[in-house]
């Protein structure tokens, strides 16, 4: 008997200037399955999904829905066929409310006026049914990424989509939110919806999906049943070699104090309380200190305060003994601070600049790259290709690729290359491996450890406990703007950290909040 496929993408080829993003790829989605799509950064996953969603037109190949060939020219066509997509970088209107975003494009009107009551009822019912908590009247610009993603999912459900595409939904979520999302996806599956799921986290694939299709450099590598495979096998299939999933490192030899933070207070942008309430800690040369915590407990603001993106209202910050509490950002950078920012599109890149222009964003003013105010284009080009080679940044047109057209993971690699190559004394890295494939994570972790071994101080902020346990020499847990515990990763467990992160325990003797 023939298989029951809802969607078949047969021999899809899609080219961009300088690169075949998809080269003869076939993907068959069974009705009611969760089908994972795995591949290195730039392998062509987002492109393939955008073809299915009608954002791009394939040069070759056909798409079948329920066995019949269909033409998907734009997202409206996709929508009519019941296909919905949550994009890698969300596509919401920031200054609209949640409800307005959900109904955008399919609004009900009466005599030309918006009718939102029905819509509100439907949205609330959906949100209830699937446990997708949202506040319909909040502005998108004010809500957390987790909630933004729930809005994107509700958008698909509101349109009664049956085929759901999730492009790296977990990259921006906290571990708790990831668990919730996995449950929600399983719920969809039980209802008979079919799901295409892109992620770089193999454990997630093993946990929820039925089958997995693997791409490598735009080519189809095969489709496997999850029940009969392992994480190691998957990563080998995707990268083409064995990948070490844990980093090994020498014991830490902490040296002089590089960063010293004393009683730091930083106001919050979203509420009237302070986001950081009198935090103190040191980071020494040759150690990786990790700030762990659930998103929204002040880690972002703490980093903004240290790096100068946000004004500090109390306390002080010292870099190599020098008071930099109120120093301009450029001065901190010259004094030896590098910063891999949390939000790569907001801070990390000028998306309309080329890759090479972005690679010198922190150094264009140095004598190496300019003379008398005129940029030395040849030096910039040479430097860019050096970084591109060393950090394996893949793109269609090399140094002159516009950053906007690069795949998410390769954008991240470009930022990391730029910040590490500055050879800083202090590297502040926020979620550095967000959106990277396992091979790239292995490499970046190796680089961070190498930095440490060369006597640099690394302050790592990560939501992923695996990464925290793997890399750090010391762990600080942050809860509601305060540091509630300090741990040696060798003498603690993920479970214990979890208790501190949730505010159920704290070390300084103060009464823990009963939750």
């Amino acid at each position: 008997m023939a298989e029951d496929y809802v969607i078949e993408m047969l021999h899809i080829t899609k080219e961009f200037p300088g690169i075949k993003a998809n080269d003869d790829i076939t993907l068959q989605l069974k009705r009611g399955e969760i089908h994972a799509l795995l591949g290195e950064n730039g392998a062509g996953k987002s492109t393939l999904m955008s073809v299915l969603f009608g954002l791009y037109q394939a040069e070759e190949g056909i798409i079948k829905k329920d066995g019949k060939e269909v033409a998907i020219k734009d997202p409206n066509d996709a929508n009519r066929l019941g296909i919905g997509m949550v994009h890698q970088h969300f596509k919401l209107v920031e200054c609209f409310t949640v409800l307005d975003n959900i109904i955008l494009g399919v609004e009900d009107t009466k005599h030309g006026f918006l009718q939102k009551d029905e819509a509100r009822k439907k949205v609330l019912a959906l949100s209830e049914k699937y446990g997708l908590r949202v506040d319909p009247d909040a502005l998108v610009s004010d809500i957390s990424v987790g909630m933004q993603q729930r809005v994107e999912i509700l958008k698909m459900l509101y349109r009664d989509n049956e085929i759901l595409i999730f492009d790296e939904p977990t990259a921006v979520l906290t571990p708790q939110e990831i668990d919730e999302l996995m449950e929600i996806m399983k719920g969809f599956k039980e209802e008979g919806k079919s799901i295409l799921f892109i992620t770089h986290k193999l454990a997630e694939i093993m946990a929820v999906s039925d089958r997995c299709t693997v791409l490598r450099k735009g080519k189809y590598m095969g489709t496997v049943d999850i029940a009969s495979t392992t994480q190691e096998e998957l990563s080998k299939m995707m990268v083409g070699r064995d990948v070490k999933l844990t980093a090994d490192k020498k014991p830490c030899e902490a040296g002089d104090t590089i960063l010293s933070v004393k009683d730091l207070v930083i106001p919050s942008r979203t509420h009237s309380n302070n986001a950081v309430k009198g935090v103190s800690f040191d980071v020494h040369a040759g150690e990786i200190v990790c700030v762990a915590g659930i998103e929204g407990n002040g880690q972002t603001e703490l980093v903004y305060g240290i790096t100068g993106l946000e004004k500090v209202t109390g306390g002080s910050v010292y870099l190599k003994g020098k008071d930099i509490t109120h120093a301009p950002i450029r001065e901190r950078s010259k004094d030896g601070m590098s910063h891999i920012p949390e939000d790569r599109h907001k801070h990390g890149l000028v998306l309309d600049y080329t890759l090479e222009q972005n690679l010198v964003l922190q150094r264009y003013w140095e004598d190496e790259f300019q003379r008398g105010g005129v940029i030395r284009a040849d030096k910039v080009r040479k430097y860019a290709y050096d970084l591109i080679d060393r950090f394996d940044v893949r793109s269609g047109q090399g140094a002159v690729t516009v950053a906007r057209s690069m795949s998410g993971g390769n954008q991240q690699k470009a930022i990391i290359a730029r910040e590490i190559d500055k050879q800083p004394d202090l590297l502040v890295a926020v979620q550095p491996t967000r959106g990277l494939d396992v091979g790239a994570i292995e490499y970046i972790h190796g680089q961070l450890i190498k930095e440490r071994d060369q006597g640099r101080a690394v302050l790592l902020v990560s939501l992923e406990l695996d990464e925290v346990m793997n890399l750090s020499d010391r762990i600080l847990v942050m809860y509601e703007g305060e540091i509630v515990g300090e741990f040696d990763p060798k003498q603690t467990t993920v479970e214990e950290l979890g208790l501190y992160m949730a505010g159920a325990k704290r070390q300084d003797g103060k009464e823990a909040r009963v939750s």
Binding site: R332, K346, L349, Q357, L361, Q370, G373
Partner: protein, 372 residues
């Protein structure tokens, strides 16, 4: 063997083609409008619009002469735009620039190049204000520049009205509603013709101003594309947060970019009024030249080199438009010019369409070849 780039990927080719198609569409639509307004004279009107600029060397000289201030106002708007700001104040800066140039020429009896410098400084000063207000108090530059347009215009009228020496009446003419003709007041302040008048059949319009403007355009291009200063300005324009993260002072750049934008418009005013063919008339409306900088910049996608061509084009149809006058009112020629410019600005939209069409036709060809 060198592989030729497929046409569909040749950005330069597509941009030029898109502009040409949009311009033709604009002209066609313009003819339809002419026909509706005055059917019997439509043919003559359109003929005048299309051919006047090339009809005589004198008229062509006028096209070049008018394109210089247009080019500078376009550069001004485009330059600010690259830094993420909308300089709708070009006309105010232009007016102040014109005044400073004329003051230097008539009241101070300075040579032309010093007067041009004065116009540049005057425009720059007028550009500082919106820049400072934005940088210090985050006041939207559109609001401040519109206010400074009116302040500039009335200020100049007020100053002129109180400076009898500046007016034509002080130099042997009868009218006191305009500034003195430079031929009488100070022939040394007239921008030299550099022998071009010989080439252009003794055209009274032509002088070296268009070359000055082209050199300025090239300098703008160089600043924006080749210098660290331009790199910073554009970074601020594209992504303010990221440039802050990179330690670039956005406020400093906002002010600098508005100073430069103001200086460009101001110089435009100087070039226009120091030609000696035009006198500044005291009127209660802002000058159109500065506003025309906006379509010039849009048409060129804010690219300084593109601005050279877009200003020549707009100047050409403006000269053509004024030749339609007896048959068509100046209002209706304005409408037609606006329609043409408006459609020409669709070039960006056309770009996408052309790329799509080229790709499709290439694919069809490939398919046919594959079948054969």
């Amino acid at each position: 063997m060198k592989v030729k780039k497929p046409l569909a990927e040749n950005q330069m080719f597509i941009s030029v083609l898109a502009s040409v198609i949009s311009i033709i569409a604009g002209l066609l639509f313009g003819s339809v409008l002419l026909f509706i307004l005055n059917p019997s004279k439509a043919g003559i009107g359109m003929g005048a619009m299309l051919t006047t600029g090339f009809s005589s060397l004198d008229q062509f000289g006028k096209v070049l002469y008018q394109s210089a201030p247009l080019m500078l106002c376009g550069l001004s708007v485009g330059f600010a735009f690259k830094t993420g700001m909308f300089n709708i104040g070009a006309t105010g800066q232009y007016t102040i620039g014109a005044f400073c140039a004329l003051y230097g020429a008539i009241a101070l009896q300075l040579p032309w190049w010093v007067c041009l410098l004065l116009s540049l400084i005057g425009g720059a000063v007028w550009g500082i204000f919106p820049g400072l207000f934005k940088a210090l108090f985050n006041v939207n530059e559109v609001i401040t520049s519109i206010m400074f347009n009116w302040i500039g215009m009335y200020l100049v009228n007020l100053l002129l009205a109180n400076m009898p020496v500046m007016l034509a009446s002080a130099w042997g003419a009868s009218n006191s509603d305009r500034t003195a003709a430079l031929a009488q007041a100070n022939p040394g302040a007239v921008i030299p013709k550099g022998g071009l008048d010989k080439l252009f059949g003794n055209s009274s319009w032509i002088n070296i101003s268009v070359f000055v403007a082209i050199i300025v355009a090239i300098i703008c291009w160089f600043i924006l594309e080749k210098t660290t200063f331009g790199y910073e300005l554009k970074a601020c324009g594209y992504n303010k947060e990221a440039s802050r993260y990179a330690g670039i002072s956005a406020n400093r750049n906002i002010v600098f970019s508005m100073i430069i934008a103001g200086a460009l418009s101001g110089l435009g005013g100087g070039l226009y009024y120091l030609a000696g063919t035009i006198q500044y008339v005291l009127e209660k409306k802002t000058l159109a030249m500065g506003f025309n900088g906006i379509p010039v910049a849009l048409l060129a996608n804010s690219n300084p080199i593109g601005t050279i061509f877009s200003s020549l084009f707009i100047s050409y149809i403006q000269v053509g438009g004024s030749a339609m006058q007896p048959n068509f009112s100046s209002e209706s020629t304005d409408i037609i010019i606006a329609v043409i410019i408006y459609l020409a600005a669709f070039a960006l939209l056309m770009k996408g369409v052309i790329t799509g069409l080229l790709k499709k036709s290439m694919k069809n060809k490939d398919d046919k070849e594959a079948k054969a």
